[in-house]
């Protein structure tokens, strides 16, 4: 698969502060890349450089085979972006917002009603956005980002602060867009979301990409699988036992557990992406 998004030695700094430190990665066509990292890690600056909002101070961004610096306008026509902060025209209705952006993209015969129905805003199309809840605004933001059927979709924290139902509906739309063939760069704090949706995840910390692989491989490489058991102890109490998996001693330890203890319950447990991030960076995603 060709790289739909390619970052080549991309860097940006503010005075002495290195916000993005010469990072390189690529996202294949039709792939979802989860972009993870604490606040201030450089994710948003990277996205701004990739989308043409900021010019890199070093390196280059190549989208859909075109150098972003030289083909900004052309690439932006094939791109959709959902920002973290709501930036809709609040005194306009959802319908007017979408129709306005459709005009900017030069889309003829745009069916705003169908798109609004797809994101669950049917019935409220003509209401001013200022009367919408946060979840409705976020769904409209997502609708706006996909109205041009983008080949590359940037989603910055699309589900932050939303109720579970709204989050789930947005995740469904992301999956549908991937199925349509869009390449997605998903920035999120939600590890579970990244794990479920992403083909690969990139961990970013202090301006650098510290790990980039599939969630499965990262768990294999940095995490541990374990067998968690509850065993009967004296006085009718239950005690916890843990056997680390995938080691030369695993078989023997499991046999001993069942031979020597009265096992009441048993289940396997995998490391989470958060565990892995902490292991790699020494700190959590919240800073």
């Amino acid at each position: 698969m060709a790289g739909a998004i390619i970052a080549e030695n991309l860097a940006y700094w503010y005075g002495d502060l290195m916000a993005v430190d010469h990072i390189s990665f690529n996202v294949a066509e039709g792939e979802i890349l989860g972009f993870l990292g604490p606040n201030g890690a450089g994710k948003t600056t990277t996205v701004k450089m990739l989308t043409g909002l900021m010019k890199p101070k070093a390196g280059k961004a190549v989208l859909l085979g075109l150098d972003m610096a030289k083909n900004t306008e052309k690439v932006q026509g094939e791109m959709g972006i959902c920002f973290e902060d709501t930036n809709l025209y609040e005194q306009m209705s959802a319908l007017e917002n979408l129709k306005f952006f459709a005009r900017l993209f030069g889309i003829d015969g745009f069916d705003a009603y169908a798109l609004l129905k797809r994101v669950g805003l049917d019935g409220r199309e003509k209401d001013r956005v200022e009367t919408y809840s946060k979840g409705m605004k976020q769904r409209l933001m997502v609708a706006r980002s996909i109205l041009n059927r983008p080949r590359v979709l940037f989603l910055d924290e699309p589900t932050t602060g939303l109720d579970p139902a709204s989050s789930e509906s947005i995740r469904e739309i992301i999956k549908e867009e991937r199925e349509r063939g869009a390449t997605v760069l998903l920035t999120t704090h939600d590890m579970e979301e990244a794990d479920k949706l992403s083909d690969r995840v990139a961990f970013m910390d202090k301006g650098k990409i510290v790990a980039l692989d599939t969630p499965h491989n990262l768990k294999q490489q940095y995490g541990k699988r374990a067998l968690k058991a509850k065993v009967a102890a004296a006085g009718g109490k239950l005690e916890d036992r843990e056997v680390i998996m995938d080691t030369p001693e695993t078989d023997k330890a499991v046999q001993e557990l069942f031979a020597k203890e009265k096992v009441v319950t048993v289940h396997s447990e995998e490391a989470t992406l958060e565990d892995i991030f902490i292991k790699i960076t020494g700190r959590g995603l919240l800073g």
């Binding site: 043409g52 306008e73 005009r103």
Partner: protein
């Protein structure tokens, strides 16, 4: 340049402009208020009262009365001083009892002229020339006299144009300038709510954004001012000259709005900057309203080159040949403000 994109942004901006109730109300109210002010003002030229103490009244004073100056006789020189100091007359002239004899003998009569303390040097000079002219008319030759000018009260001599006509450029400029608020607010809100980011990631180019904002600004400032001038009959003379001057004025206002938007972060800061701009830009118009109140330094204010051609074309029927240098200067200011405004805004957008 993609005019489809520019058209979409202009139509969105105009729609949002009038959805902001405050801005919509002050725009409509501004036009209505200035129209009302204009029409309630007297449409006749005012007659200037000049206090006169003269034991013997030369005949030329009676002749001058038909030319917008009323000489009001007072009983004594002391009464004249008191009346001028109290603001009853703009100017008081005290003639000696032997004025005619002295003129006849070729001697210099002593004439005293009392002014209010606010009277400018230029106005005092005008009165000196006026008295010289009267003496010439009276004697049929250049007559010299000893003149003593004493400043006592306020002077507003020379209002041979009705006040409301003098106010016309001020109102038009105020209407133009008021739109600085609307446009600066539109841009500031766009930046503060980050909607500008959503525009900058579409196929729109930044120059199309500036063109669209510029067109919105010109429409919003030009139309109310042009409408006002049309409704008050300000375009009966040289409408093309006036429209051109106001269009160039609207471009300047748009450039200033760009600068204000780049400096402002919220509603209050816009308000502050716009008021500063309004006060400065209104100065040349005040100068036309009250001649003699400002001098050469007003030429440093860009609106001078807007107000003057509008006034001269509207009132005196001055054509392209008379006002081209003002319009050229206005074009220069337009380029400077638009250029600076775009530079400042581009930095802010990024």
């Amino acid at each position: 340049m993609k005019w489809r994109i520019i058209g979409a942004i202009v139509s969105k901006d105009l729609s949002l402009y009038f959805r902001n109730r405050f801005i919509a109300v002050i725009t409509v109210l501004g036009i209505v208020a200035f129209l009302v002010l204009y029409f309630v003002m007297p449409d006749a030229t005012s007659v200037t009262d000049v206090g006169l103490y003269a034991p013997v009244v030369p005949s030329v004073f009676a002749e001058e009365e038909s030319k917008n100056i009323d000489f009001v006789m007072v009983d004594s020189e002391a009464a004249l001083r008191e009346a001028v100091a109290g603001g009853e007359y703009y100017v008081g002239i005290a003639l000696p009892a032997d004025i005619m004899e002295k003129f006849d003998r070729g001697e210099k009569p002593d004439i005293k002229v009392y002014f209010s303390q606010e009277t400018t040097d230029e106005m005092q000079e005008l009165y000196r020339l006026f008295i010289q002219e009267l003496a010439f008319k009276q004697t049929g030759q250049f007559a010299s006299f000893n003149e003593t000018q004493i400043v006592l009260g306020t002077d507003l001599l020379g209002q041979d144009i009705p006040l409301r006509e003098r106010m016309r450029p001020l109102f038009a400029v105020m209407l133009l300038m008021m739109e600085m608020f609307g446009l600066a607010n539109l841009i500031t809100v766009e930046v503060e709510r980050r909607t500008v980011h959503s525009l900058l990631v579409t196929p729109m180019r930044i120059r199309e954004l500036f063109t669209a904002k510029g067109i919105s600004g010109i429409i919003l400032s030009f139309i109310p001012a042009a409408l006002f001038m049309a409704l008050v009959g300000g375009m009966n003379n040289q409408p093309l000259v006036i429209l051109t001057a106001m269009l160039l004025g609207a471009v300047m206002v748009t450039g200033i709005s760009f600068l204000i938007a780049s400096l402002s972060k919220d509603f209050m800061s816009i308000l502050g900057w716009v008021f500063v701009g309004l006060i400065i830009m209104a100065v040349p118009a005040v100068g036309i309203m009250m001649p003699g109140t400002i001098t050469g330094w007003a030429k440093a204010i860009p609106s001078y080159y807007l107000v003057l051609p509008v006034h001269q074309a509207a009132y005196y029927g001055s054509g392209w040949g008379d006002v081209w240098q003002y319009l050229l200067a206005l074009v220069g200011f337009d380029l400077a403000f638009i250029g600076l405004g775009i530079m400042a805004l581009r930095r802010k957008f990024q």
